[in-house]
């Protein structure tokens, strides 16, 4: 061996070694043997010569080179491992960011299952997500992702490769286009994956309660795996990954390599376990957000109702104010009015027919009578603004109205007949208002009185309530004239005569009571009032 051989010298020139390229100039002064000389023909020839000369340096050199080679391989393996771990950390970081920023349950689940099944993710063929439904007491199959057969797998994976989408885009695409179809596709599997939480012996519940992942191998012969579960999944190896968030059992991921049958390693399991924490937390947060939304909607709804109630209270206060005002009017107007009218009548009664002032007094009596009529109608109208309903007996209602009007009608020569129906149902009405309406109808001042002074009243149970019919054969007017009377203040006569029927109509309609009036110039007027028998019949 030449002592001055290039590999044996400390320092060499660039031209002396063809193996040292540009950028490797540092090797001209050190570490050349382990890095470059090992594969050099000059070095190999010298080493061979050393061996043939039985030089003790030969085995030492060989050993150094072997050890160096072993260490290099180890370093490469470690670097590769570190690279993988770095990629994995980046991937988890990226997923974590997406999951942490989302409060939409479907988005979270889409991201989670896409990450598990995508080649750029954990690369499992298929994944199922089961959620813990505490209210219903079930671990419930919620979503599945993956192909159902080889054909579908080839098609979908080709598509993914061609589109070259990143994970986030894949997840987005899945959520927007495939979530419901995928749920439908795995509907049968998801149904069968649903297990009662009380079934503590079931492997899914055991894994959930155990809160640690479980790699199930040789499932067909596994004593803890029910045969139906193995048949359902169709694989002998699968991973059960409980989703645990702050010690709460959120759900479970079942992942397998249904198509490729690639073995699931412990490393796969540990990687997925790290991911599962983030997923569990994101699912729980999204679920809580959903619940929060529901509660928020309830609170909003309650707020709306409260506002309506407040408005109602204000309205009622206004109505109470209207009541107080009308009460005040009643006292301040009616009392003086009756005093004027009363004394005028008294004077009229005591004045001789020849008294020239008698005409004036008669005018006072007439005007006060008319004003009293107007006042009655105004007070009745204000009273009609807020009906108070309850269940009442129809016969009592009619008899009260007949009793109140009997004297007046009898004095006018009317004959009134009432035919009560059998087993009449109680009616839900404002008694005062309906009673007023009946009195008004019976005593109404519709023009056109004929010879037949008969009023026939009948009642019967109908489909939508109790039908009350009043036939007044004494009033002979046309339908058009009558309908004119049903419009408030449309009458050409002075106020105080003509509002009665219109007010009745308004009062009844306000209570949701149909009021039908038919007039015939020869037959008279027929009123039909359908009194509701149920609360919901009110409008």
């Amino acid at each position: 061996m030449d002592r001055n051989s290039c590999w044996n010298r400390n320092v060499i020139e660039q031209e002396e070694c063809p193996n040292i390229g540009e950028g490797e100039e540092d090797l001209l002064v050190s570490q050349r043997v382990t890095e470059k000389c090992r594969d050099c023909a000059v070095f190999s020839a010298d080493l061979e010569r050393l061996r043939s000369d039985d030089n003790p340096l030969a085995p030492l050199l060989s050993e150094v080179l072997i050890e160096n080679s072993r260490q290099k391989t180890q370093i490469q393996s470690l670097v590769s491992f570190l690279d993988n771990k770095t990629l994995e950390m980046r991937f988890l970081h990226e997923l974590g960011s997406v999951l942490q920023s989302s409060v939409d349950l479907d988005e979270v689940l889409s991201v989670a299952l896409t990450a598990i099944t995508a080649g750029k993710g954990f690369g499992m063929n298929r994944a199922f997500l089961l959620l813990n439904n505490r209210e219903e007491g079930f671990l419930k199959g919620y979503l599945g992702l993956g192909p159902r057969n080889i054909d579908e797998a080839c098609r979908v994976w080709d598509e993914i490769i061609q589109n070259d989408m990143d994970l986030q885009t894949l997840a987005q695409n899945f959520r927007l286009n495939k979530l419901s179809s995928e749920r439908e596709k795995f509907h049968d599997v998801l149904e069968q994956l649903t297990v009662p939480l009380s079934n503590k012996d079931h492997i899914l519940i055991k894994a959930l309660d155990g809160k640690v992942p479980l790699l199930v191998e040789n499932a067909y012969y596994h004593p803890d795996v029910p045969a139906e579960l193995t048949r359902l999944l169709g694989v002998d190896t699968f991973l059960l990954m409980p989703l645990i968030s702050r010690n709460r059992r959120v759900g479970m991921i079942i992942a397998d390599n249904f198509i490729t049958h690639r073995p699931i390693t412990d490393e796969d399991m540990h990687s997925l376990e790290t991911f599962a924490f983030t997923v569990a937390f994101a699912i729980e947060r999204a679920s809580l957000y959903d619940k929060l939304q529901v509660e928020l909607n309830r609170v909003t709804e309650a707020g709306k109702k409260l506002k309506e109630q407040q408005e109602l209270i204000v309205r009622m206060e206004n109505m109470a104010l209207v009541g107080r005002i009308t009460s005040s009017i009643a006292h301040s107007v009616r009392n003086p009015l009756m005093i004027i009218g009363g004394f005028a009548r008294s004077m009229l009664k005591n004045s001789p027919e020849s008294d020239p002032k008698r005409t004036f007094i008669e005018s006072i009596v007439s005007e006060t009578r008319q004003l009293e009529g107007v006042l009655d109608e105004i007070l009745n109208y204000s009273d009609s603004l807020y009906p108070t309903r309850d269940f009442w007996d129809v016969n009592q209602l009619i008899e009260t109205a007949l009793h109140d009007t009997a004297d007046t009608l009898t004095s006018q020569g009317y004959a009134i007949g009432y035919s009560p129906g059998h087993d009449l149902q109680a009616v839900y009405i404002d008694f005062k208002q309906v009673s007023y309406c009946l009195r008004t109808i019976l005593q109404n001042d519709v023009n056109g009185i004929g010879d037949d002074l008969t009023i026939a009243i009948s009642s019967r149970n109908g489909e939508n309530g109790v039908i009350l019919q009043i036939e007044d054969r004494s009033r002979h007017v046309s339908q058009a004239e009558l309908e004119h009377l049903l419009v408030p203040f449309s009458e050409t006569r002075d106020l105080g005569a003509g509002l009665g029927l219109a007010l009745c109509k308004a009062m009844l309609e306000k209570q949701g009571i149909p009021f039908v009036v038919q007039a015939d110039v020869k037959e008279g007027i027929r009123y039909a009032i359908t009194l509701p028998t149920r609360k919901e019949e009110q409008s």
Binding site: S327, A330, H331, R334, N335, L337, M338, I339, I340, G341, G342, F343, A344, R345, S346, K349, V365, T368, R369, E372, D376, L379, N380, D383, T400, D404, D407, F431, K432, S435, Y436
Partner: protein, 126 residues
Amino acid sequence: MSRLLVVDDEANIRLLYAEELKDEGYEVVTAATSAEAAEKLQGGVFDLAVLDIKLKNESGIELLQKLVKERHDMPVILCSAFSCYKDDFSAWLADGYVVKSGDLTELKQEIARVLAKKAMKVKADV
């Protein structure tokens, strides 16, 4: 001659009732308040009372309840500016109800009807 107690816070109404009802042959005593009515009731027997529902700062309905309790043999007719009380439960204790009007015919008829009813009841009891 039947003796009537008229309770109303309006002096002119008391005067009108007194004049008109005297013309009808009744003996009329008037009172402006519940206290005055109680005083008058202490002083003698009445066949019937005509009460206004709204007395100044008082309720005629309360006075009605008191009279029904203490003087159950004396019928009461409520007379009010409000027709709405006619169908009010609280007014159902009264033997009659009349809406105030310058035309006292209805009041007079009601008084006659209630007194006749009372007379028939007394006769039946005897």
